[in-house]
């Protein structure tokens, strides 16, 4: 247990990330608050997934530093990082026939050695991850036979078995219908509340981002447009500037968070509320 918990789980300083020379994120300073849910939003290609990879040391910075707590991530061994930070990429794939238990057990990789490949602790942690994601009953099922939501829960269970304080997730709700999206986000919310996990994720749905995020980071063209609590960040100006979309922001009657109503060509000409005739 780290007694002296830093206020920021992850910090970047002048972080520049590039793919084969093409700069995607440029000189970015960001601080991820510990114990909160931070959500990265922005249009396609703005660099939010790239940023997540940079935070999770999957992409080596071209320039700048990522700090895990107070240590530079470049100076830590990849195994040491894996004990503190778990990352779930977008749309991961598993080999045919792999069972949920097989998959979740893979999360123990950084804790295992040549001789100790399945310790009591590994078993306990895997069982815990299976039960908190409600996957126990599917433990022996092959991943291919599950629904999208169950499969995503299995992958999340794998990152939970890794037993890290920080979780990075790239669009954990892609390809899921609305009910399954809420199911996954509720699970992440519970993990944040009950286990104190720091969660950073990329989400496309602005309204869900406002509902589930404690901290919102709006990214545009590789830099931060605005960041803060959803109520401050989610404004009509932000949506206009970042997404190039006209919208109205109203209050979400269920969660009391901002709700973005986009204005489309179809709706703008017919501003009739209680249409009869």
């Amino acid at each position: 247990m780290i007694t002296d918990t830093p206020a920021y789980a992850l910090t970047t300083r002048k972080l520049t990330l590039a793919y084969e020379g093409k700069v995607v994120i440029e000189s970015l300073d960001l601080a991820i608050p510990t114990g909160q849910i931070t959500i990265l939003v922005g249009p396609n290609g703005c660099g939010k997934s790239t940023l997540l990879k940079g935070l999770g040391r999957l992409l080596k910075p071209k320039q700048g530093v990522v700090y895990l707590g107070s240590e530079s991530i470049a100076k830590l061994s990849t195994k040491a990082i894996a004990k503190r930070l778990g990352l779930l990429p977008q749309g991961p794939t598993a080999p045919e026939g792999l069972t949920v238990r097989d998959l979740v057990a893979q999360g123990r990789y950084p804790h295992q050695g040549w001789l100790q490949q399945w310790s009591k602790e590994d078993e306990q942690q895997v069982n815990w991850a299976l039960s908190i994601t409600q996957m126990i009953e599917f433990a022996h099922c092959a991943l291919d036979n599950l629904s999208g939501g169950q499969r995503q829960r299995a992958w999340i269970a794998m990152t939970l078995a890794q037993d890290t304080d920080i979780l990075l997730l790239d669009e954990p709700t892609t390809y899921l219908d609305l009910a399954h999206q809420i199911e996954v986000l509720d699970l992440l919310h519970d993990l944040n509340q009950q286990q104190g996990k720091t969660i950073v994720m990329v989400l496309h749905d602005l309204n869900l981002a406002c509902r589930f995020g404690d901290y919102l980071v709006a990214i545009k063209g590789g830099s931060i447009f605005d960041q803060g609590q959803p109520k401050q960040v989610m404004t009509e100006t932000m949506v206009q500037n970042v997404f190039g979309l006209e919208s109205r922001i109203i209050n979400d009657p269920v969660a009391n968070t901002p709700l973005c109503i986009p204005i489309s060509r179809r709706s703008s000409g017919t501003v009739r509320v209680g249409h009869q005739s």
């Binding site: 990082i81 794939t93 080999p95 045919e96 069972t99 999360g107 001789l115």
Partner: protein, 347 residues
């Protein structure tokens, strides 16, 4: 509910888990292989009854004093070579499919085997005076060269299944053409030796070849098996593997090295036995699932069994004419490859 067999003795700091089907299936495969071996050793121009085969191998007295020579010198080493080569190719195939995450990538499909064939044929045809113990090393060199080229050309920019196979087929054709060149212009005696070997055959293989091959099989087979955990992580994709703390490039290089060494040495011993490296891992996965700590030994035993049976069938089907076992594995394996391709396209 009990899907795993957990081994965790309290006295020693060792623990691991296996799919619970693994032990039974391994025992079953070993027994089936032993039966096939006894039949195989008994089969031939001079038949030996199964019971006498067993007696001779165990060093017991038999009715016929010739049996000892026939069994121990002529036939037993040959079938043992078939078994070992089958295991080596199967492990190589399992490793290749694991690190590429491509169910169709086995050394013989992606051209690695043809690289090995080319260099080995070159050695046989151009330098027949060199010791046979050099052949595995040279075949390994050829296999390794092709593997590196494939890695650079097809793999670096994302390992797309189709691209890997297309580039591999290209290398196969190039290496095949160069091998033909060797065969066409070489000395006729050396060439005929090379040709028998090329078809994939355990004909005339003895204790000497077995002795050269076994260290490669045990060394790299064991290395591959000890890296099962890494293979399991790699199967989930580069990003997941790296997030889990795998030192991706190092692990993958070591695994590739073992796969190439196994394929190269197996091919050096018995020629290019096609489709064993492709089929065995698939059959193994159907038997025990995709986790490598169980899959690798099961696939290995499956591959060994397949080649032993292929060698037996090759001598049985059109006796006294003998078909190289590589032809048998190709007749069975080619349709299987097509089936996998079609199934892959539909999913």
């Amino acid at each position: 509910m009990k899907q795993w067999l957990v081994v965790r003795p309290p006295q020693i700091p060792i623990s691991f888990h296996l799919d619970r089907r693994v032990p039974h299936i391994m025992v079953g495969l070993v027994l089936a292989t032993l039966v096939a071996m006894v039949l195989s050793v008994g089969q031939g121009e001079y038949p030996v009854p199964p019971l006498d085969v067993i007696k001779t191998i165990l060093g017991l007295e038999t009715s016929n004093p010739d049996f000892d020579f026939i069994v121990m010198t002529l036939r037993l080493p040959r079938t043992l070579v078939a078994w070992g080569v089958g295991m080596g190719l199967a492990i190589a195939g399992t490793i290749t499919q694991g690190i590429t995450r491509n169910p169709l990538a086995s050394p013989d499909i992606i051209g690695v085997s043809d690289g090995a064939s080319l260099t080995a044929v070159t050695l046989i045809v151009l330098y027949p005076e060199l010791p046979t113990a050099l052949i595995p090393l040279v075949a390994f060199g050829g296999a390794f060269t092709v593997a590196v080229l494939i890695y650079l050309l097809a793999w670096k920019g994302g390992s797309s299944s189709v691209r890997l196979i297309l580039v591999g087929v290209g290398f196969s054709l190039i290496a095949g053409a160069l091998t033909n060149l060797m065969v066409t212009f070489g000395n006729i005696y050396n060439v005929s030796q090379a040709l028998v070997w090329l078809a994939g055959s355990v004909y005339g293989r003895g204790w000497e070849q077995l002795g050269v091959f076994v260290p490669w099989l045990i060394g790299f087979g064991l290395l591959g098996w000890l890296m099962s955990r890494e293979l399991n992580a790699l199967q989930l994709g580069d990003e997941v593997a790296r997030s889990l703390g795998s030192r991706l490039e190092l692990q993958r290089s070591l695994l590739l090295l073992s796969g190439v060494a196994l394929a190269g040495s197996a091919i050096a011993t018995a020629g290019n036995l096609r489709f064993v490296g492709l089929m065995a891992p698939h059959l193994g996965r159907q038997l025990v699932g995709p986790s490598h700590e169980g899959l690798l030994p099961v696939a290995a035993l499956t591959g060994g069994f397949v080649v032993v049976v292929a060698d037996l069938l090759g001598r049985l089907l059109f006796a006294p004419i003998e078909l190289p076992c590589g032809i048998i594995t190709a007749i069975v394996g080619a349709p299987y490859f097509l089936y996998l391709l079609i199934r892959d396209r539909n999913s």
